[in-house]
Symmetry: C2
Subunit: 422 residues, 2 copies
């Protein structure tokens, strides 16, 4: 199997582990920066590597519209397309259809919508979303779900959850039938590990049979991993039912979706906690679209293994910086002659080199470099926060740390999270 | 003396040399990227170092308006402000006053103008421009001149040239009286090399005299270098007279200004040639605001040692890329699935890593990273072009190369050059 998850330490509900994908392994808990259209806005890939980014998120909706799935597929998939030789995860496109596009119409079959770019008409179904995600070729892909709006009544939420379950089954069915079509298993790469190994084992049933077996074996070894998504709105019993029935469909990992959509944080925590209790211990848990630095620590303590959020990158572009001393609005005049670094406790290349005064000047002058440097720092802060959480779990100190938050970075406030960079 | 220029090789009129500034040495001929407000738009300083940028240009007009001279001075000068520990050159602000500001009024004393940012009223004289440039603390600063508009009648051009000559004398007079006020010779740095050395020589005339001598000695060793500027419009006899009379004022280097302002290129070449013949062989010659890759090779062959231009950086932000195969408009649909690098002959980190297809996608999607990566490539191309010119001069092959342009990078066309990045 190409996807494997192992837990290396536990501390309360928190886990430190790692998973293995066709493009490398990832230590968890992990924060995944958002690179919507195949780029983390303003940051070159070598800088992302230097920052220790292990896995990126790309948005299927955006790549589907531009440059198009066929273009990315013909170029070898998202990793080769963006020259990023580490794992990538794509979402299903469902969330963006709900949040960005116009005139969407949901039916049993799927969602008709108009592009936010040019108004053109499109249709996503579980099958077409998975086909797009296979064509894009990320290492981890997501079942097509309906993200229930908030607030929503119980009956509406239950109907939506049932639809998501039916779509999850269709997503999986399509994936199993087509997973060998991922671009890095294409004819252009006949020497993929699986095929080579099979040949050396001499599994021959005539030419046609051999080619078929080779493809099947390669697929077993190197395909993408399809994760299921738990929905259920803000109702604990629906979250429980959604988790249980999604697990029955048997995915290699499970996301919790439909949260951080405007509800109060205690509600989020309760829904996360409910879902987690019905998810298997031995599979990774991905909480979609969160959160502040404080929140990502909190969710890791609850037992979440993977998170993504546009907050560090989007806030950076608006001059909001996360530091060990709290949040800092760099345009503030008080920084105009401040020779100190953004964050004295931060080892990133921005804090090592530039003064607050210079960063304030760049931001006040609306300079491109402000967005570049601010983004690098905020990502460094998030990534270091998560690395520190992982080390703390391994030491067995996380539960204490979360109750004494001064010992970990992040001074959070509730901020509406979003799931793509537009 | 803090500024010294030595010629190491000649080939026809071309020279390969180096000059020495308080912040390090520079090999010539040199291309100076434009970092208008203390940043080359979108490119972090460590990337500029990796590209081999030896010296940057900052625009006095912009830094004077924002963040203000006093802010930069209090932070130690432009080098420390932008965390760039290599040489910087500032222009006088004159060109921007003429090209960017509203309601300018020129008198014998100087120029009244309104800020392009907020309409506020300001006044630049030779004295205030030099005061600003001393406060900013670049390694090379420029006399305050009037850039004659094009086209201009002979009488108008001559009057303007005479004004520039009077302003040059005033610029020098003010500079000589105040050059020790540069921020890196301030009281905050009492251990500057000159002072230390003087103390060890025991030059004592009582405390006051010693302090005064120390300051004088430090100034002799470490001050900025003030360059004069040749004007004279498109009239060869005025260019000659301007050059001769500017040289009489005795500067450590000479710029040729007022060119690339809309005139045909043969006219530019004639004016450059005329001016050069009346400039001393042993001083650097700086042609302001040029040019295309082809032109910078041509001007180096004419005997120019220093050039700056916004073309590589501005063109990059608009998707126009310079390559060994000619110019490339990256938004062109033909690149949508082109897996090759921007320029197969280029060793820059953009060409080493990314495909034209990806760069086309970034540009078409209006992504920040398009501007960042395009700028890095174009700068790499210009800098490598100039390094190649220098090597060719040292080998004695430049004159031949210029007559067989295929042997050097750059396929130029006339492009209006500008002198600041806005």
């Amino acid at each position: 199997m190409s996807f494997r998850f192992q837990i290396e330490a536990r501390d309360g509900n928190a886990r430190a582990g790692r998973f293995f994908t066709p493009h490398g392994e990832v230590e968890t808990p992990v924060f995944m920066p958002v690179g919507t259209v195949g780029t983390v806005k303003g940051v070159p890939q070598d800088t992302l590597e230097d920052l220790g980014v292990q896995i990126l998120l790309n948005n299927t909706y955006h790549l589907y519209l531009r440059p198009g799935v066929e273009t990315v597929r013909s170029l070898g998939g998202v990793q080769k397309f963006m020259s990023w030789d580490r794992p990538i995860l794509t979402d299903s496109g469902g969330f963006q259809v709900f949040s960005l596009s116009d005139l969407r119409k949901v039916t049993e079959d799927g969602v008709a919508f108009r592009s936010h770019l040019d108004g053109s008409s499109h249709f996503f179904s579980p099958e077409s979303s998975i086909a797009a995600q296979i064509g894009l070729g990320a290492d981890i892909i997501m079942a097509f779900d309906e993200c229930t709006e908030h607030p929503a009544e119980y009956a509406r939420t239950k109907d939506s959850m049932e639809l998501t379950l039916r779509w999850a089954a269709r997503s999986k069915q399509y994936f199993e039938a087509h997973k060998h079509e991922v671009p890095w298993l294409s004819d252009r790469n006949p020497n993929a590990a699986g095929i080579t190994e099979l040949s050396s084992r001499g599994a021959l049933q005539g030419d046609e049979g051999s080619a078929f077996s080779a493809r099947q074996s390669a697929a077993d070894r190197q395909t993408q991993a399809l994760f299921g998504i738990v929905q259920g709105g803000m109702f604990a019993d629906l979250r429980r039912e959604s988790a249980q029935r999604t697990v029955e469909l048997d995915f290699p990992g499970y996301a919790i979706g439909g949260l951080s959509v405007g509800e109060p944080r205690p509600m989020t925590h309760e829904m996360v906690d409910t879902a987690i209790r019905f998810l298997p211990q031995d599979k990774p848990r991905y909480l979609m679209g969160v959160g502040t630095p404080e929140e990502i620590v909190h969710y890791a303590a609850q037992g979440i293994d993977m998170m993504d959020c546009v907050l560090p990158t989007r806030a950076a572009r608006h001059g909001l910086l996360f530091t060990s001393e709290g949040r800092l609005t760099i345009k503030n005049a008080r920084y105009a002659t401040d020779e100190g670094p953004l964050d004295p406790a931060c080892g990133c290349k921005v804090c090592a080199r530039y003064s607050r005064a210079y960063l304030r000047h760049l931001y006040a002058s609306n300079e491109l470099l402000a967005q570049v440097l601010n983004t690098i720092h905020n990502l460094a802060y998030y990534l270091e926060t998560m690395r520190q959480v992982r080390r703390t779990i391994i030491r067995g100190d996380l539960t204490d740390s979360v109750h004494r938050p001064a010992t970990l970075p992040g001074a959070g406030s509730d901020t509406e999270a979003q799931r793509s960079e537009t």
